[in-house]
Symmetry: C2
């Protein structure tokens, strides 16, 4: 018998992983949650049939989404994670002793519970670190209700803009993020991919909206082989900091954090984009 | 009816592309040559069941393998391409009026003929540009027989080190490349991928050998979604030039070449590698 998990990257492209067994399968109020075990990727979590995290390359995504803003402002004290139910983003943040509080607002409790049971690699810090406050609430409502200038960093660790993640790609959401960020605040978001047409459309829409609201809005890239095309983007937006000029390279390196993907060279390199991506982002901006 | 091309990235990971039709299928003396037509990637060429080029993303590979060395030394006059039967590397080189001669040594004539018939996007310059001299010979023998200091640039545009490409990953081959390069000579090679174990092994072996022979040996990366993992590497080795410090950024930009992937920012960014890749390369070097 062979058992394969197959993801439709587009109608015409499929990515398949040979699976040893399905460890978990449940429909929450929001989405279908599955966890599989495989030879190649170890255990992996999917939501509505899309890869979220796996033991082999989760470090790439979590390194990029956390250490990039932390290197630009090592004085970040208060952080808001929207989504991030697998716990990997909270885990990387918890390595900074300088951070005082991490609010994590995940709409779907089932994702957190399943990750805590099967993916301690990402979820282990959620219980251990008392600075992490877990709220099973809607991120859109959370940012609408939060007070002005509450956070120094907001990380939008969302699914694609279909299903529960949709509101996290709206102008109103980004406007509230701006309002509740401190005067040096930074917003980082998973910003889809430039390769397949449907991802590229969402990438442009997200960047266009963020760019209208934040004075500084850049995009950086990473190699995440298990996401569609492996060419994945993150957004970096801020009120004051430029992600390259204001990177505190020496200060970050002095922390001595061991990382498997991120380093202060690739911090710079990740903002240097292929011409076709730059052109897509320029297009998005000019369609204001 | 559905018709799918499936590539085994590993025993446990498959990448599949929905195909409209198979345009060409022939076994040469060296390998199985197929060309397919698809919605997502346009036409694509495979050798022994491995993706070589497709109309959607061939520009990434050919931009990286050609413009990176050309930016470091815009005075390159004599070029040797080993492999590159689809013609894409020759096409990009032919855009430099400063280049005087391009010897292209491809072991398998069938690859060139099939590409000329079905992939004019890459192969069109092979007949048009009189500076391109096509030899259907073994690249290993070619470099063994060439005179000292014949070329300013050698591009190893090979398949994986299995089948006809195997000798192009040998120490003897790289030693001859060194010998036949001029005193400012540059060697660029496709250097596999760090992600899946079997690719990573070949990546380390190639780098270790090149690093023993050339005083300067670096690795740079690109996003090529249709190659296994999408995280692909190239080697840059030279007798005198550092790929970053000696890049002639203004000079290259003054040429006004329009490119879809390459630019002088990503030139720099592509040499900034994830920590796990840096560590693999260091391991390879210390196993001398």
């Amino acid at each position: 018998m062979e058992f394969w998990y197959t993801e439709e990257w587009t109608e015409n492209v499929r990515f398949s992983i040979k699976v040893d067994q399905q460890l978990y399968s449940k429909k929450s109020d929001f989405q279908q949650v599955d966890i599989f075990e495989s030879q190649e990727l170890g255990k992996f979590l999917t939501l509505d049939g899309l890869m979220m995290v796996n033991e082999k390359d989760e470090f790439v995504y979590h390194d990029c989404i956390v250490h990039t803003p932390m290197c630009v402002n090592p004085n970040i004290k208060n952080v808001l994670i929207i989504g991030g139910g697998d716990g990997g983003t909270a885990r990387e943040l918890s390595r900074y002793s300088s951070i005082e509080k991490i609010d994590m607002v995940e709409i779907d409790e089932l994702v957190v519970r399943a990750s805590q049971e099967f993916l301690p690699i990402t979820a282990s810090k959620l219980e251990e670190d008392s600075r992490i406050h877990l709220y099973f609430e809607d991120g859109v409502a959370w940012v609408a209700n939060a007070k002005d200038e509450t956070y120094d960093l907001i990380i939008v660790d969302s699914t694609d803009p279909i299903g529960p993640g949709e509101g996290l790609f709206s102008t109103e959401f980004y406007q509230n993020c701006y309002r509740i960020l401190s005067k040096d605040g930074i917003l980082v978001n998973q910003n889809e991919s430039p390769y397949f047409a449907h991802n590229a459309r969402e990438m442009k829409r997200a960047h266009e909206k963020i760019n209208r609201i934040f004075p500084i809005a850049k995009v950086y890239q990473a190699h995440i082989p298990t996401y569609p095309s492996g060419h994945w983007l993150f957004g970096f937006a801020s009120k004051t900091f430029d992600p390259i000029k204001d990177a505190k390279v020496d200060e970050w390196n002095a922390l001595g954090l061991k990382t498997k993907y991120y380093n202060t060279d690739i911090h710079v390199g990740s903002f240097m984009l292929p011409t076709f991506v730059k052109e897509m982002l320029e297009d998005a901006k000019s369609s204001k």
